[in-house]
Symmetry: C2
Subunit: 140 residues, 2 copies
DNA sequence: TATTATCCTATGGGATTAGTAGGGTTTGCA
DNA sequence: TGCAAACCCTACTAATCCCATAGGATAATA
């Protein structure tokens, strides 16, 4: 299940992407528009800034704004930063791989092989949907 | 991420499905073959029995065995019993639907619409892979 | 300098996970 | 009948994660 953190993060990115122009937007504005706890959102936006997807401006007239590349960034990237691995099992994760202790041979593990299929299908969506695609999505 | 419970449950089902015949198998045998804590596995198999996928025989020579229909049952069914919803967000779950408090309009929510796609893709795999298919899987 | 807004660390309650403990109950067999 | 094998069931716990809040530090603007 998607954590609230990820869900809120994606909603905030959406909110920024839907705006005309790219002026900084205060946390409070986003949190009220999207019904998100302000303090919690604060930490989420901070994470996204550190990951290089958002810029921030302090002081009066400050706030968060999208960086240029962010609109073209696939949802998969945000997902990995906010939620972690996309794979359902560490042994099929591309970016967070870990071997299972209980499993002597991955190639012959049914769970492993099925979860590779699930991962590839999910990835095909999350990697091929950019933030721009994502906001168009809302009208379909 | 898949819980150990689900992973162990699927492995145990696999183990039973790969056997010739359908004699009861003791928990201990499965737990040793698959490197699973015996007591934990015990509770998992109990869940699967109550859900109607396994039979059990008590006393000497007893153990767990597959019911007839179980080989034809899709992995999605086991998943729902062991792990819960397949959807990543309750608002796109078919079997465990819940409305989001923060979201005024699902149809115009980007997250909602994206997660429907992910759900449909995942479902297409989990619903179309039966336990029989699943064990063949290991050799591909 | 005063105000505004992000930055950052720490903390805490609640839920979930992955077991563990310790019996109880039923069955088969000698 | 009696014993041991094997499942049945409840309760508990340690660890971890999630969601959120608090409060001050820092930086930018006017």
């Amino acid at each position: 299940m998607l954590s609230r953190k990820t869900k809120y993060g994606l909603k905030a990115l959406c909110f920024l992407a839907r705006r005309e122009g790219n002026d900084p937007v205060q946390i409070e504005v986003i949190s009220k528009a999207e019904n998100i706890s302000q303090k919690f959102l604060e930490s989420i936006l901070l994470t996204l800034r550190k990951a290089g997807y958002l810029g921030a401006k302090k002081g009066k007239g400050g706030g968060y704004y999208l960086l240029d590349k962010t609109r073209k960034t696939p949802i998969a990237a945000f997902y990995r930063v906010l939620e972690g691995p996309i794979a359902m099992v560490p042994c099929v994760s591309l970016n967070f791989y870990e071997k299972c202790e209980d499993c002597p041979d991955e190639d012959h593990c049914s769970v492993h092989n099925l979860m590779i299929q699930v991962r590839d299908n999910t990835l095909s969506i999350l990697e091929n949907t950019s933030l721009s695609d994502f906001i168009d999505n809302q009208m379909t």
